[in-house]
Symmetry: C2
Subunit: 298 residues, 2 copies
């Protein structure tokens, strides 16, 4: 019997549905007092995100022989952190964005005060959810929480946002831009992938491979985001296109040009694929996702 | 031999020094890139806070036969959360305060964007520190982290801030005000005390007593804060006095008058003392702190 081809769309549809249901279970209902904060948290969390980080987490678990149910709390924790970072990044004091995923940003709907608090609450919620995950023989719950805290902290995710803020309107080198992208995007993507492996009690060799994969996919993902900002319309992106250019924000295309940037994205993806060789064909979902991330047009 | 009397000032001096040293160890050095964020985190964390929550945490550990070293990561985690909440509360979109503890607030020094991120980073740092605590036979590290996440989340600390925001300029009942104070202040104080007990592997009876104590001391603490805002000068408080009145913020004195508020604070403290009877005189530091919190004039 020949192996049936991997159906990425099916995997994505299933994982998105399962993640949405789990997030709905993990979060206080919208009517819970104070309603404003729970409505606001849910507004951004259910604003049509692609759920790429949870999908990567679940795919990594599958590659290591784990199941989606065990990986789910960690997949959801990462999505809460991703959403919090978007809410805070969109604030007037940061990127000052009015639209995100085709909808008004959190502070445009709920006001700045509630938007700050909704971000805070989602960040806190992430740790509450993660603290409920199953421990594994090789990885305690505390280790998993440490992993999330480090990827989201002042040396990674937040460092990226700070460096991004400080680079605005300045001349930025390729090295500095890579520093920003590694932290703003790669760190949490890589964390999602590692957490998936940890939930499946992966070996240290597998964890190393997942780290390598996550780092390169994350960086490729962000380079493509930069490219799409230049080449696509606002309507298609669901957010203000050309925004980076207007804000004089350094991007791969603005520093290196479009062609070179596309080449970099492709090379990063090749490196990501190479990292998966350890799994000897059992990382189909991760491979499919990496291909999807490189070929996407929005 | 007669028992030597408990020296509160000595306990406070020692615990403040130890907490400051531990916080300094737990946080990335100020020169760590990106410098802005680490300087900003440290600016607010070392702005002369009274370290009441860490002191309560260490005192609770002592009451249960534990030591300061084991309780320290949790004491520091709570202080990081307290500081993050102050930075975000002071933002223009929230309470819009220029001074805190006699110094310019974080956003007045570093700008709003960095202030939001410094708060985010301290919140994240709290979980990183807590994840490194020692587990106890009765309490895993994950349980302790869950405790912190719940006390800081959208049903407690953040709920209080939301309700406070929404009450501004409106007529507030005593019941609503208690809701706000329970969440804005009591929740984290109570958490600090419970964490101290948990670090000492306390019994469930002791944990119940600490919860009762923490709740009442926390509420008393906030009622007194309300009273001091009316009765003290800005210079003495190190922040803008009369601010609550100007912002038309509901406080115990504004709803019930000064005398009745003082009576409430005293009754709450009595209840707190009653909760400590379980410890049969071994909770000297907790008793001393409760007395100190009620008698303070700033």
């Amino acid at each position: 019997m020949s192996k049936s081809p991997f159906q990425l769309q099916e995997f994505l549809d299933e994982s998105t549905l399962a993640v949405n249901q789990a997030l709905d279970r993990f979060l206080p209902p919208a009517r819970t007092a104070p309603r404003t904060i729970h409505e606001s948290m849910r507004y951004s969390l259910f604003a049509g995100g692609k759920r790429m980080r949870p999908a990567l987490c679940l795919a990594a678990a599958a590659a290591c022989g784990g199941d989606a149910e065990t990986a789910m709390p960690l997949a959801c924790a990462v999505e809460c952190i991703h959403t919090y970072s978007l809410i805070h990044d969109d604030l007037p004091a940061m990127d000052d964005d009015d639209y995100r995923r085709g909808k008004l940003t959190n502070h445009k709907v709920y006001g700045e005060g509630i938007a700050v608090l909704a971000g805070d609450a989602l960040l806190t919620q992430a740790f509450e959810i993660a603290a409920k995950c199953q421990s594994q023989p090789r990885y305690s719950r505390a280790q998993v929480i440490l992993e999330i805290a480090r990827a989201s902290g002042s040396l990674q995710l937040i460092a990226g946002q700070v460096a991004d803020l400080e680079a605005e309107g300045k001349k930025v080198t390729e090295k500095q831009l890579r520093y920003i992208h590694e932290r703003k995007t790669s760190a949490l993507l890589c964390c999602a992938v590692r957490l998936g492996g940890m939930s499946a009690n992966c070996t240290s060799r597998q964890l190393g491979a997942l780290t390598d994969f996550g780092y390169h996919v994350g960086l490729a993902f962000q380079v493509i985001d930069d490219i799409l900002d230049v080449t696509q319309t606002s309507e298609k992106l669901g957010k203000t296109a050309g925004k980076d250019t207007k804000a004089l924000k350094a991007t791969y295309p603005s520093i290196l040009g479009l062609e070179k940037s596309r080449g970099i994205a492709e090379r990063l993806t090749t490196k990501a694929f190479d990292a998966l060789k350890v799994f000897k064909g059992r990382a189909l979902a991760l491979e499919g996702l990496a291909q999807f991330l490189l070929k996407r047009d929005r």
